[in-house]
């Protein structure tokens, strides 16, 4: 580590952080991250070489072995060396208002994530990190892609303590003592000799106890496996294998069937990732918000504070209809569409109707109707104006001959529920206060038929709520009323600093939602179901 450039000298000084508050990641971090670089390079090289195996094997003759090993060693040294320097240049601090992170070797980056805008906190443990007892703490702050603050890696216990602290601060609780950390923890030893580990990564003093959790549901593994197999992907797999066999038989050559191999890998990978990500899925409530734990190789514990769920989607593919299973997904700002989308936007990978109701109750305790079951029945399976839904008129059959009877919308006191899809059933729920903007769309055919589509714009995520082909006047009235309702609901929204409104309790004494899985959606305010629009 020759590059022990003294930090802070040429840096823009972050004055809002007391110098003693800076902390480092765990020293094992470079080993874990460097390993990733090493494997990545190996994979790319391997991929290139498999294209031409003969040439590759000729490379390894004679002295070739030595060169290969030398290159590998070089890659390893560069990978681990880079990670080590990166680790040395990375430090973070938690103040009352924000999390500060400084990273970068050549291009220094300072990131400050405001805690009152905290959307979710994830503790992620990739397989390797789990083996050595480390975890990554990820903060989502809804700033678009790449806005997450990732603290990797921390000791397991430390990550949990930090999570509790961040959530408590985000909830608006104050630190009990004014002195956050004694000087021992400080990274203040900026110009320390390179060889000596300048900073301890000991946990900060426990300022906040972790909020108590209460488990609400758990997905049984057999059901997860069965439901994953019972999907269009499997059908595709069967067709692919069938096609392979047929081609092999027809052409009397086994090699001809190899064209399906990439496809098999693709589908197999999809099925595996579904099972892997959904394995041992558990959901719990806590004063910090809902907590979702899942993952087989990579364990993930997500915490979504109250009021951070922007929209909910309940969907059922054709193959799940006979089992009565549903998949529940959520939009959380910051869990933007990306490669990890499937992992963190799932609220329940495979739920029965009762579990759907429980899952939705978790994130939206009050649906705004007195009796929720008939509403769910109508939303999940109903057509036409079942359960008080406002449905698409008969004219809609010209634009959607199969599913037109499913298009419908129900407005309750707290949320907008939209329904669509005959083959692939889908129900979207948007709490009024989470509406971003609204839209009305009409194509030429719809115009002739007197129809219009109503769109609710939500944050990026799997849920894009809309009701297609409503009668035009109904859609227009819905637009007006919904704009009004969203405004009223927003005015009463208290999800930021969500505990400040309570009488300064200790975190543990904070009012806990009594988790009652058997009686999921008992509304706290017994509001009569409101009349549907128009």
């Amino acid at each position: 580590m020759s590059r022990s450039a003294p930090q802070g000298e040429q840096d823009v000084v972050d004055e809002s952080v007391p110098p003693g508050a800076w902390r480092r990641m765990h020293p094992v971090t470079p080993a874990l991250k460097g390993w990733k670089i090493f494997v990545g390079v190996l994979l790319v090289a391997g991929y290139q070489l498999t294209d031409n195996l003969q040439q590759a094997s000729s490379l390894l003759e004679g002295r070739g072995w030595l060169i290969a090993i030398g290159v590998l060693a070089l890659v390893a040294v560069v990978g681990f060396g880079y990670s080590a320097v990166a680790w040395r240049m990375t430090r973070f601090a938690v103040t009352d208002d924000a999390v500060h992170l400084q990273t970068g070797i050549l291009f220094r980056q300072q990131r400050q994530a405001r805690l009152d805008r905290l959307q979710a906190v994830d503790v992620v443990q990739p397989l390797l990190a789990r083996l050595v007892g480390l975890s990554e703490l990820k903060l989502e702050v809804a700033g678009g892609s790449g806005s997450a603050v990732s603290l990797a890696f921390l000791r397991e216990g430390e990550a949990d303590v930090l999570r509790a602290e961040l959530l408590a601060l985000a909830a608006g609780l104050r630190r009990p003592a004014a002195t956050p950390a004694p000087g021992v923890d400080a990274v203040a030893a900026v110009g320390a000799e390179p060889g000596v580990p300048a900073v301890t990564t000991a946990a900060a003093p426990v300022a906040f106890a972790a909020a108590p959790e209460h488990q609400v549901y758990e997905v049984p593994m057999p059901r997860l496996v069965l439901s994953t197999i019972q999907s269009s992907a499997t059908v595709g797999l069967v067709i692919a294998i069938g096609a392979a066999v047929v081609t092999a038989v027809m052409s009397r050559e086994v090699g001809a069937a190899f064209f399906v191999v990439p496809m098999l890998f693709g589908i197999g990978g999809f099925l595996w990732s579904r099972i892997n990500q959904g394995a041992s899925f558990r959901a719990a409530t806590s004063p910090d918000g809902i907590r979702l734990r899942h993952g087989f190789t990579e364990a993930r514990a997500q915490t979504v504070p109250p009021g951070r769920v922007q929209a909910i989607r309940i969907s059922q593919g054709l193959w799940w209809r006979w089992s009565g299973w549903w998949r529940v997904e959520i939009n959380v700002a910051g869990y933007a569409i990306g490669k990890e989308q499937q992992q963190d936007t799932v609220l329940h990978p495979v739920a029965t109707q009762d579990e759907v109701m429980t899952a939705v109750w978790l994130v939206l305790p009050d649906l705004g109707v007195a009796d929720v079951r008939p509403v769910y029945d109508a939303a999940l399976r109903g057509t036409g104006d079942d359960g008080g839904f406002t449905a698409a008129p008969r004219a809609a059959r010209w634009v959607d001959p199969i599913g037109w009877r499913r298009h419908g919308v129900l407005v309750t006191q707290r949320a907008l529920i939209t329904r669509s899809g005959r083959l692939r059933r889908q129900v979207d729920i948007v709490p009024h206060e989470r509406t971003q903007s609204l839209g009305l769309e009409q194509g030429p055919l719809q115009r002739r038929l007197g129809l219009a589509s109503f769109v609710v714009h939500s944050t990026p995520g799997p849920v894009q709520p809309a009701v297609a082909h409503l009668a035009a006047p109904v859609a227009a009235a819905l637009l007006d009323e919904q704009a009004e309702r969203a405004r009223t609901a927003r005015a009463g929204d208290r999800s930021e600093l969500w505990m400040r409104s309570h009488l300064e309790p200790a975190p543990a004494a904070a009012p806990t939602e009594p988790a009652a899985p058997t009686e999921p959606a008992t509304p706290t305010t017994a509001a009569p179901p409101q009349d549907p629009v128009a």
């Binding site: 971003q436 903007s437 839209g439 009305l440 194509g443 227009a476 007006d480 704009a483 405004r487």
Partner: protein
Amino acid sequence: MTSDATVPTADGTRDPFAPLDVTWTPVSTRLARARLTVLALWFGPLVLAGVVVAVATGEPWVWVWPGVTAALAAWQSWLIPRQVRAMAYAERAEDLLIRRGILFRTLVVVPYGRMQYVDVTAGPLARRFRIASVQLHTASPGTGASIEGLPPQEAARLRDRLASRGESRLAGL
């Protein structure tokens, strides 16, 4: 209002894209002129080149090329003023309404309290025609609310107004 949105629809009900008690502000017709200029800059040389080639070769079928491009240009120049006339916005007490489209019509309602930031942009051509565009950003990428063809002082006024209204109704997500 030159747009046809105030005309009742065929079955006599009121137009869903013209909410009552809303006064629409149409965008500047200079936007149409700016767009027509762009059109002329693109299609003019194309048609001209076609004509030159046709005259040079003397073959009658070569006239198909300039003919088709000219027809396209004519159709566009008929469409653009209509499209621009269909674009309008309205400031209500709590939200901003933006309307556009003739064949495929959209209406967007953006609450001031949901606005994250506002962009005002004007390219060289737009500056020449003294217009600017204002884009509103919420936390949703689906909002897609932009108003093109505003006079610069109107764009600035709208920006300041939106910013001040957004601030007074500041909320998270």
